[in-house]
């Protein structure tokens, strides 16, 4: 018994991480931390994908997780570039100051 882990444990872990990430996105003003929280959420999702992949015995979930990583990489690259750009203009990285929707 001790060697088996019920699947919903993984799912709960994923949900907790996801919730933490979401709270981070909602609460933090610092754009960098918001970004990292997003990464956290992505990882939580990855965990779910991998869990179900294991559960179904089908490694397609791994592939999706791989693709998610690629997307996360792209997102991080572009997002950080945007942050740099905004920082140059406004000298702050606070997300609640970025509400003009166009520059």
């Amino acid at each position: 018994m001790i060697n088996t882990i019920p699947i919903h444990y993984f799912l709960l872990l994923s949900a907790m991480l996801f919730t933490i990430g979401m709270l981070g996105v909602i609460f933090r003003r610092n754009a960098l931390i918001v970004f990292m929280s997003i990464e956290l959420m992505l990882n939580a999702v990855n965990l779910t994908l991998v869990t179900f992949s294991r559960f179904r015995g089908d490694s397609s979930g791994h592939v999706i997780a791989f693709l998610v990583m690629a997307v996360a990489a792209a997102e991080a690259a572009v997002g950080l570039a945007i942050i740099i750009n905004i920082f140059r203009h406004k000298k702050v990285v606070n997300i609640d100051t970025m509400d003009r929707m166009k520059y």
Binding site: P6, M22, R28, G57, F66, L67, V71, A73, I84, K91
Partner: protein
Amino acid sequence: MALILFFVFAIAAVLSGICVAFSPFGNNPVYSAIALIMTLFFLACEFVLLHATFIAVLQILVYAGAIMVLFTFVIMLLNLSKEEIGEERLTLTKVVGLVVVLIGLTYQIGRVIWAHKVAPVTLHLTDGGPSNPAFGTIQDVGVKLFQDFLVPFEVTSILLLVAIVGAVVLAKRKI
């Protein structure tokens, strides 16, 4: 045994995850970055528990390695002062968000998960592993990737290319 490992890694991941979003050490994003790296690491451990060795490796290499380096790079580059970081502010929206997330969403998700308790996942540490012994290996995932998911894979490469171009265009002062 596996359960113990799971709990250790899970608790570590959750704690460091909390440190990412709500760092007890201060507002400096560096703390968050380090906490994130730790979270990623513990998650990689969880992946291993799930027989996802390839993903676990990628998690360390790509995520903790490449992406997080980019983050720290940017953090260093911006070199934010205390004033620039500023104070956190609690607004009505945020409070509403907190309440909803904690009570509503968590309750809902938890309810779903408990309602759908399914058969326990057996781990490879003991007998009765997956029917396919190669599950989760590079070979297994690689075959899938280059046969069934070839087009998404190639599209991803285009995405990355575009992201590179975009990042360069955005971050550069003058092109």
